[in-house]
Protein backbone atom coordinates (compact mmCIF):
# COMPACT_ATOMS: atom_id res chain seq x y z
CA UNK A 1 0.00 0.00 0.00
CA UNK A 2 2.74 2.42 0.98
CA UNK A 3 4.74 1.57 -2.12
CA UNK A 4 1.67 2.07 -4.28
CA UNK A 5 0.93 5.47 -2.72
CA UNK A 6 4.52 6.69 -3.00
CA UNK A 7 5.10 5.52 -6.55
CA UNK A 8 1.64 6.51 -7.67
CA UNK A 9 2.13 10.02 -6.29
CA UNK A 10 5.48 10.19 -8.06
CA UNK A 11 3.86 9.10 -11.32
CA UNK A 12 1.11 11.71 -11.04
CA UNK A 13 3.57 14.46 -10.09
CA UNK A 14 5.85 13.57 -12.99
CA UNK A 15 2.92 13.51 -15.39
CA UNK A 16 1.90 16.99 -14.27
CA UNK A 17 5.51 18.04 -14.73
CA UNK A 18 5.45 16.76 -18.31
CA UNK A 19 2.53 18.92 -19.33
CA UNK A 20 3.43 21.98 -17.27
CA UNK A 21 7.19 22.30 -17.86
CA UNK A 22 8.08 25.40 -19.83
CA UNK A 23 10.92 23.84 -21.75
CA UNK A 24 10.36 20.68 -23.83
CA UNK A 25 13.65 19.31 -22.50
CA UNK A 26 12.25 19.44 -18.98
CA UNK A 27 9.12 17.72 -20.26
CA UNK A 28 11.23 14.85 -21.59
CA UNK A 29 13.08 14.53 -18.29
CA UNK A 30 9.81 14.47 -16.37
CA UNK A 31 8.53 11.86 -18.79
CA UNK A 32 11.54 9.66 -17.97
CA UNK A 33 10.70 9.93 -14.25
CA UNK A 34 7.10 9.06 -15.06
CA UNK A 35 8.04 6.00 -17.11
CA UNK A 36 10.43 4.73 -14.44
CA UNK A 37 7.78 5.05 -11.73
CA UNK A 38 5.36 3.18 -13.96
CA UNK A 39 7.99 0.46 -14.31
CA UNK A 40 8.07 0.19 -10.51
CA UNK A 41 4.28 -0.10 -10.50
CA UNK A 42 4.54 -2.92 -13.04
CA UNK A 43 6.95 -4.66 -10.70
CA UNK A 44 4.45 -4.40 -7.83
CA UNK A 45 1.92 -5.99 -10.18
CA UNK A 46 4.33 -8.88 -10.73
CA UNK A 47 4.98 -7.94 -14.32
CA UNK A 48 8.73 -8.15 -13.97
CA UNK A 49 9.57 -8.65 -17.61
CA UNK A 50 7.28 -5.83 -18.68
CA UNK A 51 8.86 -3.50 -16.11
CA UNK A 52 12.28 -4.21 -17.53
CA UNK A 53 11.03 -3.70 -21.08
CA UNK A 54 9.51 -0.42 -19.97
CA UNK A 55 12.84 0.84 -18.62
CA UNK A 56 15.00 -0.46 -21.46
CA UNK A 57 12.78 0.35 -24.38
CA UNK A 58 10.75 3.31 -23.22
CA UNK A 59 12.83 5.22 -20.71
CA UNK A 60 15.92 4.27 -22.68
CA UNK A 61 15.44 4.16 -26.41
CA UNK A 62 12.32 6.23 -26.99
CA UNK A 63 13.36 9.03 -24.66
CA UNK A 64 16.79 9.21 -26.30
CA UNK A 65 14.95 9.60 -29.59
CA UNK A 66 12.96 12.45 -28.07
CA UNK A 67 16.04 14.25 -26.78
CA UNK A 68 17.83 13.72 -30.09
CA UNK A 69 15.00 15.25 -32.09
CA UNK A 70 14.72 18.06 -29.57
CA UNK A 71 18.38 18.89 -30.07
CA UNK A 72 18.02 18.63 -33.82
CA UNK A 73 15.11 21.05 -33.92
CA UNK A 74 16.30 23.59 -31.37
CA UNK A 75 19.67 23.71 -33.08
CA UNK A 76 17.91 25.03 -36.17
CA UNK A 77 16.03 27.78 -34.37
CA UNK A 78 18.57 29.23 -31.96
CA UNK A 79 17.40 31.39 -29.11
CA UNK A 80 13.81 30.31 -29.44
CA UNK A 81 12.19 27.29 -27.91
CA UNK A 82 10.26 25.35 -30.54
CA UNK A 83 6.56 25.87 -30.19
CA UNK A 84 4.56 28.11 -27.95
CA UNK A 85 4.69 28.41 -24.20
CA UNK A 86 1.33 29.76 -23.19
CA UNK A 87 -1.63 27.45 -23.14
CA UNK A 88 -4.36 28.12 -25.64
CA UNK A 89 -7.45 30.06 -24.76
CA UNK A 90 -9.89 27.21 -24.48
CA UNK A 91 -8.97 26.30 -20.90
CA UNK A 92 -12.59 26.08 -19.80
CA UNK A 93 -13.44 23.70 -22.61
CA UNK A 94 -10.37 21.60 -21.87
CA UNK A 95 -11.18 21.35 -18.17
CA UNK A 96 -14.79 20.38 -18.93
CA UNK A 97 -13.73 17.72 -21.42
CA UNK A 98 -11.20 16.30 -19.00
CA UNK A 99 -13.71 16.20 -16.16
CA UNK A 100 -15.99 14.18 -18.43
CA UNK A 101 -13.14 11.82 -19.41
CA UNK A 102 -11.98 11.37 -15.82
CA UNK A 103 -15.55 10.84 -14.64
CA UNK A 104 -16.20 8.12 -17.17
CA UNK A 105 -12.91 6.41 -16.41
CA UNK A 106 -13.44 6.64 -12.64
CA UNK A 107 -16.90 5.12 -12.98
CA UNK A 108 -15.23 2.28 -14.84
CA UNK A 109 -12.65 1.98 -12.10
CA UNK A 110 -15.31 1.82 -9.40
CA UNK A 111 -17.07 -0.78 -11.51
CA UNK A 112 -13.82 -2.70 -11.31
CA UNK A 113 -14.44 -2.95 -7.57
CA UNK A 114 -16.98 -5.62 -8.43
CA UNK A 115 -14.19 -7.63 -9.99
CA UNK A 116 -12.93 -10.67 -8.10
CA UNK A 117 -10.12 -10.23 -5.66
CA UNK A 118 -6.72 -11.12 -6.97
CA UNK A 119 -7.00 -14.67 -8.20
CA UNK A 120 -4.44 -17.22 -7.22
CA UNK A 121 -1.46 -16.90 -9.46
CA UNK A 122 0.42 -19.67 -11.10
CA UNK A 123 4.05 -19.76 -10.09
CA UNK A 124 6.25 -17.56 -12.20
CA UNK A 125 3.42 -15.27 -13.27
CA UNK A 126 4.92 -12.32 -15.12
CA UNK A 127 8.37 -13.85 -15.43
CA UNK A 128 10.16 -13.79 -18.73
CA UNK A 129 9.41 -17.49 -19.19
CA UNK A 130 5.66 -17.15 -18.65
CA UNK A 131 5.66 -14.07 -20.83
CA UNK A 132 7.43 -15.90 -23.63
CA UNK A 133 5.08 -18.88 -23.35
CA UNK A 134 2.10 -16.57 -23.75
CA UNK A 135 3.71 -14.45 -26.46
CA UNK A 136 4.69 -17.33 -28.71
CA UNK A 137 1.72 -19.49 -27.82
CA UNK A 138 -1.83 -18.13 -27.91
CA UNK A 139 -0.75 -14.60 -28.81
CA UNK A 140 1.54 -15.37 -31.74
CA UNK A 141 -0.57 -13.50 -34.29
CA UNK A 142 -0.65 -10.17 -32.37
CA UNK A 143 3.09 -10.51 -31.84
CA UNK A 144 3.72 -11.00 -35.54
CA UNK A 145 1.48 -8.05 -36.34
CA UNK A 146 3.67 -5.82 -34.16
CA UNK A 147 6.53 -6.80 -36.46
CA UNK A 148 4.47 -5.54 -39.39
CA UNK A 149 3.66 -2.31 -37.53
CA UNK A 150 7.34 -1.70 -36.79
CA UNK A 151 8.28 -2.39 -40.40
CA UNK A 152 5.66 0.12 -41.53
CA UNK A 153 7.00 2.68 -39.10
CA UNK A 154 10.57 2.16 -40.31
CA UNK A 155 9.59 2.52 -43.97
CA UNK A 156 7.52 5.60 -43.19
CA UNK A 157 10.32 7.22 -41.19
CA UNK A 158 12.94 6.56 -43.85
CA UNK A 159 10.62 7.81 -46.57
CA UNK A 160 9.84 10.95 -44.57
CA UNK A 161 13.44 11.79 -43.75
CA UNK A 162 15.17 10.90 -47.00
CA UNK A 163 15.62 14.40 -48.34
CA UNK A 164 12.33 15.38 -49.86
CA UNK A 165 12.49 18.80 -48.25
CA UNK A 166 11.96 20.62 -51.52
CA UNK A 167 8.94 18.53 -52.42
CA UNK A 168 7.45 19.20 -48.99
CA UNK A 169 8.16 22.90 -49.27
CA UNK A 170 6.51 23.08 -52.68
CA UNK A 171 3.50 21.19 -51.40
CA UNK A 172 2.92 23.72 -48.63
CA UNK A 173 0.92 26.86 -49.48
CA UNK A 174 2.06 30.41 -48.80
CA UNK A 175 5.82 30.07 -49.01
CA UNK A 176 7.52 31.79 -46.10
CA UNK A 177 11.20 31.82 -45.25
CA UNK A 178 12.07 29.27 -42.61
CA UNK A 179 12.05 30.79 -39.16
CA UNK A 180 9.70 33.63 -40.01
CA UNK A 181 6.44 33.79 -38.11
CA UNK A 182 3.75 32.12 -40.12
CA UNK A 183 0.59 33.85 -41.13
CA UNK A 184 -0.99 31.74 -43.83
CA UNK A 185 -4.38 33.36 -43.55
CA UNK A 186 -3.78 36.65 -45.32
CA UNK A 187 -1.33 35.54 -47.98
CA UNK A 188 -3.27 32.44 -48.89
CA UNK A 189 -6.61 34.20 -48.90
CA UNK A 190 -5.34 37.05 -51.05
CA UNK A 191 -3.76 34.64 -53.49
CA UNK A 192 -6.83 32.47 -53.87
CA UNK A 193 -10.16 34.27 -53.82
CA UNK A 194 -12.20 31.09 -53.97
CA UNK A 195 -10.40 29.95 -50.85
CA UNK A 196 -11.39 33.17 -49.14
CA UNK A 197 -14.98 32.62 -50.12
CA UNK A 198 -14.89 29.06 -48.87
CA UNK A 199 -13.42 29.96 -45.52
CA UNK A 200 -16.35 32.18 -44.64
CA UNK A 201 -19.14 30.09 -43.19
Amino acid sequence: MIAFLLVGAAAVAAAIGVISARSPVHSVLWLIVHLCSLAVLYMTLQAEFLGLVQILLYAGAVMVLFLFVLGLISARTPGEAPGGQQPRGQIGFAVAAVIVIAGVLLVGAVGGALAPAASALSTGFGSAEAFGQALFGPYLLPFESTALALLTAIVATVALSSGHDEAVRRALPAEVPAGAPIDVSHAALAAEPELAGRSKP
Binding site: I73, F125, A188
Partner: protein, 101 residues
Protein backbone atom coordinates in the same frame (compact mmCIF):
# COMPACT_ATOMS: atom_id res chain seq x y z
CA UNK B 1 -5.09 -3.05 3.53
CA UNK B 2 -4.13 -4.60 0.23
CA UNK B 3 -4.10 -2.48 -2.86
CA UNK B 4 -7.06 -3.49 -4.96
CA UNK B 5 -7.74 -3.27 -8.64
CA UNK B 6 -9.78 -0.02 -8.31
CA UNK B 7 -6.73 1.82 -6.98
CA UNK B 8 -4.71 0.97 -10.04
CA UNK B 9 -7.58 1.71 -12.41
CA UNK B 10 -8.21 5.02 -10.65
CA UNK B 11 -4.54 5.94 -10.95
CA UNK B 12 -4.65 5.01 -14.64
CA UNK B 13 -7.73 7.22 -15.06
CA UNK B 14 -5.99 10.16 -13.41
CA UNK B 15 -2.88 9.73 -15.56
CA UNK B 16 -4.99 9.47 -18.71
CA UNK B 17 -6.83 12.66 -17.76
CA UNK B 18 -3.53 14.47 -17.19
CA UNK B 19 -2.38 13.39 -20.64
CA UNK B 20 -5.64 14.63 -22.12
CA UNK B 21 -5.22 18.00 -20.39
CA UNK B 22 -1.76 18.31 -21.88
CA UNK B 23 -3.02 17.41 -25.32
CA UNK B 24 -5.69 20.09 -25.12
CA UNK B 25 -3.66 22.87 -23.52
CA UNK B 26 -0.14 22.75 -24.92
CA UNK B 27 0.91 24.04 -28.33
CA UNK B 28 4.36 22.58 -28.85
CA UNK B 29 4.04 19.58 -31.17
CA UNK B 30 6.72 17.67 -29.27
CA UNK B 31 4.89 18.15 -25.97
CA UNK B 32 1.72 16.96 -27.68
CA UNK B 33 3.51 13.72 -28.62
CA UNK B 34 4.62 13.39 -24.99
CA UNK B 35 1.04 13.90 -23.77
CA UNK B 36 -0.02 11.10 -26.10
CA UNK B 37 2.70 8.97 -24.52
CA UNK B 38 1.17 9.66 -21.10
CA UNK B 39 -2.17 8.39 -22.36
CA UNK B 40 -0.63 5.24 -23.90
CA UNK B 41 1.05 4.51 -20.57
CA UNK B 42 -2.11 5.05 -18.54
CA UNK B 43 -3.83 2.46 -20.72
CA UNK B 44 -0.86 0.15 -20.22
CA UNK B 45 -1.11 0.45 -16.45
CA UNK B 46 -4.78 -0.52 -16.58
CA UNK B 47 -3.91 -3.52 -18.77
CA UNK B 48 -1.16 -4.76 -16.47
CA UNK B 49 -3.32 -4.28 -13.38
CA UNK B 50 -6.22 -6.27 -14.83
CA UNK B 51 -3.78 -8.95 -15.99
CA UNK B 52 -2.56 -9.25 -12.41
CA UNK B 53 -6.00 -9.41 -10.87
CA UNK B 54 -7.42 -11.93 -13.30
CA UNK B 55 -4.23 -13.99 -13.34
CA UNK B 56 -4.09 -13.88 -17.14
CA UNK B 57 -0.93 -13.18 -19.09
CA UNK B 58 -2.96 -11.81 -21.99
CA UNK B 59 -3.06 -8.34 -20.48
CA UNK B 60 0.70 -8.18 -20.20
CA UNK B 61 1.16 -9.39 -23.76
CA UNK B 62 -1.24 -6.74 -24.96
CA UNK B 63 0.62 -4.10 -22.95
CA UNK B 64 3.75 -5.25 -24.75
CA UNK B 65 2.00 -4.78 -28.09
CA UNK B 66 0.93 -1.32 -26.95
CA UNK B 67 4.54 -0.42 -26.09
CA UNK B 68 5.57 -1.47 -29.60
CA UNK B 69 2.77 0.55 -31.17
CA UNK B 70 3.76 3.56 -29.06
CA UNK B 71 7.37 3.25 -30.20
CA UNK B 72 6.27 3.17 -33.83
CA UNK B 73 4.01 6.15 -33.16
CA UNK B 74 6.87 8.13 -31.64
CA UNK B 75 9.19 7.30 -34.54
CA UNK B 76 6.77 8.49 -37.20
CA UNK B 77 5.55 11.45 -35.14
CA UNK B 78 9.07 12.72 -34.48
CA UNK B 79 10.06 12.27 -38.14
CA UNK B 80 7.05 14.39 -39.08
CA UNK B 81 7.99 16.95 -36.44
CA UNK B 82 11.54 17.23 -37.78
CA UNK B 83 10.25 17.60 -41.33
CA UNK B 84 7.73 20.27 -40.40
CA UNK B 85 10.25 22.05 -38.19
CA UNK B 86 12.71 22.15 -41.07
CA UNK B 87 10.17 23.34 -43.62
CA UNK B 88 8.45 25.89 -41.38
CA UNK B 89 10.84 26.75 -38.57
CA UNK B 90 8.18 26.32 -35.92
CA UNK B 91 6.36 23.55 -34.11
CA UNK B 92 3.61 25.68 -32.67
CA UNK B 93 0.44 23.69 -33.30
CA UNK B 94 -1.59 26.88 -33.55
CA UNK B 95 0.50 28.10 -36.48
CA UNK B 96 0.66 24.79 -38.31
CA UNK B 97 -2.77 25.17 -39.76
CA UNK B 98 -2.35 24.81 -43.49
CA UNK B 99 -3.93 21.35 -43.35
CA UNK B 100 -7.22 23.01 -42.44
CA UNK B 101 -9.91 22.28 -45.03
Amino acid sequence: MPVGLPFYLGLAAVLFAIGAVGLLLRRDALVLVMAIELMWNAANLALVATARYYGDMGGQVFAFVVITAAAADVAVGLALAVLVGRARGTLDADQLKWLRG
